[in-house]
């Protein structure tokens, strides 16, 4: 995998600030006292065993999940039950899902222009130009008039990334973007993400692709049982894990 230069600027500006956040599903305590600050331009990889709450954590950042305690401030806007704030945050934060979640009844181009036209109120022609630009960036402009069902998994995921980028987001969230893909297609998606990182996008990425983490992340966060167990720079994190739980996890995913 291409190694990105890790000299991308991280500014002092805060992109996401999470303080003392708790979340329950019914009586089940999924996220426990999470504190986290993300600087603008930072690229964070979140890993951990399944059920550790890592997906739930990033889904709280654009309020696909509601938190019950604590504070989440995204781009200076606090997430409360105020719908206006939620819509504001969502239009600034892009999200890429494990199962792509493209709209199957719309063509690729329509998938990309829908939100810019209806949420940003951009004229259709301009939105289509932007869409073609980003389709070019993810290297599938020739698929613009096909439907999602006609594309391979890797292509669909790249379309999903382009769809988020069309909203010109300031923060991108990735929820296990490669775990539903065939091995041959993982690389094309990771390459797209690396390119995005090199352009200085603020990224929070839940993934088990440790190569990706080593290549682009400034920080790796390890979660277990709804808590942040360890975080560090990638090199330190992989070579010199501190907690036993992290060591066990790393030995299991890197073991063979």
């Amino acid at each position: 995998m291409a190694t990105a230069e890790n000299n991308m600027a991280v500014s002092d500006e805060v992109a996401v600030q999470i303080t003392g956040m708790n979340k329950w599903y019914g009586t089940f305590h999924v996220l426990r006292d999470v504190n986290m600050t993300v600087q603008r331009g930072e690229r964070i990889v979140i890993c951990g065993p399944s059920g550790s709450g890592k997906s739930t954590l990033i889904r709280c950042i654009n309020r696909l999940e509601e938190h019950q305690q604590g504070q989440i401030i995204v781009d200076g806007t606090e997430l409360t039950s105020d719908l206006k704030n939620i819509d504001k945050v969502r239009s600034e934060v892009g999200m890429v899902f494990q199962h792509f979640n493209l709209f199957p009844h719309l063509t690729i181009l329509e998938n990309l222009t829908l939100a810019p036209i209806w949420v940003r109120k951009i004229p259709k022609k301009e939105a289509e130009e932007t869409a073609m630009y980003f389709l070019g960036k993810v290297k599938i402009p020739e698929q613009a008039h096909k439907y999602p069902g006609m594309l391979s998994g890797g292509q669909q995921q790249r379309v999903a990334i382009a769809r988020s980028l069309c909203m010109k987001p300031r923060i991108m969230l990735f929820d296990e973007p490669t775990s539903a893909l065939d091995p041959e297609m993982i690389k094309e998606v990771l390459d797209t993400m690396i390119e995005l990182a090199q352009e200085g996008m603020t990224m929070l990425c839940v993934t088990h692709e440790m190569g990706f983490a080593q290549a682009v992340a400034n920080r790796v966060i390890f979660m277990d049982q709804g808590q942040i167990v360890e975080q560090n720079e990638p090199k330190e994190f992989f070579n010199n894990p501190k907690s036993d739980r992290t060591k066990l996890f790393l030995s299991q995913i890197l073991g063979h």
Binding site: R90, G94, N101, P104, H105, L114, W118, G149, M167
Partner: protein, 480 residues
């Protein structure tokens, strides 16, 4: 010691499948006579078909079209095919078709329902074939041609002949130049219908239409401050106030200046297929949007809206349609203030619409349930608000899944319009047939009217069914 190493040195090219397996004998052997039990079943089936045809075919083939009474029919058949021959007497349809079609609408005004029926298809064309302009043109062209043909057959005054012929030709012209502009006919169609079928001054219909204008203006003014739901509510209240207090006097005032009056027609003159189509088309077109709103209401997070939706759906689904029709004809009369002259057909339309809406709501809910959670999440994550997500993402997919169920409801509803017979309206199947059969000339006739009415219903329902299949094929984009 065996060697497990293997390397393919050349990739195989694709090849033809084994020789085509066709031929009539082979097909019959496989499908009809593949074993002892299948052979027996085939022979029994053939015998049953033969028996049925041998009963029905002579009756159909001996049909008589020209006679003035049933006894005349029978004597013609006896004369031609022997004393014991059976035969259909289609003459009754030829002589009394107008009652099946128009009920008791006066003959000199038949052009009004005919024109309205033609306009119905003009109005449907842009809605049914929004992305197939050629079909819109064909449909409007055929309708225009058929209408002109009908005009020649109906005896109308020259003025009406010229005006309506020019109108329908103009609509065809529009369909050639700018087919989608016909959507205006679609939007105006309810008011055109009320004006053409019930007559009166054009201003009554126009002021009814203006109520929707009031709704739109109030919504536009308040939407920014109050949000979609409240703004719609305020708009509806304003429109209702307009209809109750202002529409009547304004229409009266305008009518006294320039009336454009058509002779008013009472609801009890309606009957036959005219009645079935009025009730069927209006209930079908209003019940779908109401059904969608009820399905969304049932899934709402707001307790009040959810309970009201569930209550409405469960109550209406749990009550037989006939009960609702009796309610329409009797109970509403008690609840409404005295001297309100609330048209019986209108009441029936409202209750049949509610009935169909409850069923549609459940079918749409099934469509919603078929949607993956990810679709909602993707719409949310892109910043679409609730109504945008519903309109652009959720409903197009949910309705596509629900098409077969929705069309089944529509077909059922259309056939159920015959039940209005029980509240004294003359539906084609029971009401009009009874009228025809009580004529002394036709006493004793049985099959022919029912077959005719059944055939017309079949055509209408089969048309809906074919359209739904076309729609499903057109919307199939998921390539599963």
């Amino acid at each position: 010691m065996s060697d497990i190493s293997y390397v393919r040195d050349s990739m195989l090219p694709p090849s033809e499948p084994p020789g085509a397996q066709t031929g009539v004998v082979k097909w019959m052997r496989e499908n009809l006579f593949s074993g002892l039990s299948n052979t027996v079943l085939t022979l029994v089936g053939v015998a049953a078909i033969y028996y049925f045809l041998q009963l029905v075919l002579p009756w159909l083939l001996h049909g008589v079209w020209y006679a003035n009474s049933l006894s005349e029919c029978r004597s013609i058949i006896a004369e031609n095919y022997g004393p014991n021959a059976s035969g259909a007497c289609w003459a009754v349809i030829r002589l009394r078709w107008y009652q099946f079609v128009f009920g008791f609408y006066p003959p000199e005004l038949w052009w009004r329902p005919t024109l309205n029926f033609a306009l119905l298809f003009v109005a449907l064309a842009p809605a049914l074939f929004s992305d197939n302009l050629r079909m819109v043109r064909i449909m409007v062209g055929v309708v225009a041609a058929l209408y002109l043909l009908a005009l020649v057959c109906l005896s109308t005054t020259p003025l009406i002949f010229v005006v309506t012929a020019v109108l329908i030709a103009a609509l065809f012209g529009v369909s050639v130049v700018a087919p989608m502009q016909l959507i205006w006919v679609t939007l105006l169609f309810p008011f055109i219908t009320i004006y053409l079928l019930w007559g009166g001054s054009v201003w009554s219909s126009a002021m009814g239409l203006a109520g929707f204008g009031v709704l739109a203006v109030v919504y536009r003014l308040t939407n920014d401050r109050l949000g979609v739901v409240v703004a719609t509510g305020v708009g509806v209240v304003a429109a209702i106030l307009w209809w109750i207090f202002l529409a009547g006097p304004v229409a009266g005032g305008l009518a006294s200046v320039l009336a454009f009056r058509l002779e008013p027609m009472d609801s009890d003159r309606f009957g036959g297929f005219l009645l079935a189509f009025v009730i069927g088309v209006s209930s079908i077109s209003i019940s779908l949007p109401i059904g969608i709103l009820l399905a969304l209401g049932r899934q709402s997070d707001m307790l009040l809206i959810r309970s009201l939706s569930i209550g409405f759906i469960e109550f209406v689904r749990g009550v037989p349609l006939i009960t609702m029709l009796f309610t329409a004809s009797l109970l509403l009369g008690y609840f409404l203030p005295p001297q309100t002259n609330f048209d019986l057909i209108l009441r029936v339309v409202i209750l049949v619409t509610f009935f169909a809406a409850a069923y549609n709501a459940e079918v749409v809910r099934g469509g919603l349930a078929a949607l993956a959670r990810g679709q909602y999440e993707a719409a949310d994550a892109l910043g679409l608000d609730y109504w945008q997500a519903q309109r652009l993402i959720i409903m197009p997919q949910a309705l596509k899944v629900a098409i077969p169920g929705i069309v089944t409801n529509f077909i059922g509803l259309f056939k159920d319009t015959t039940l209005v017979n029980f509240v004294g309206l003359r539906d084609p199947l029971i009401g009009i047939t009874a009228v025809v059969r009580s004529d002394l000339d036709w006493k004793g006739i049985y099959w022919e009217p029912y077959i005719f009415v059944g055939g017309v219903f079949f055509l209408a329902c089969y048309g809906m069914s074919r359209y739904s299949m076309y729609l499903e094929r057109k919307l199939k984009t998921d390539h599963r």
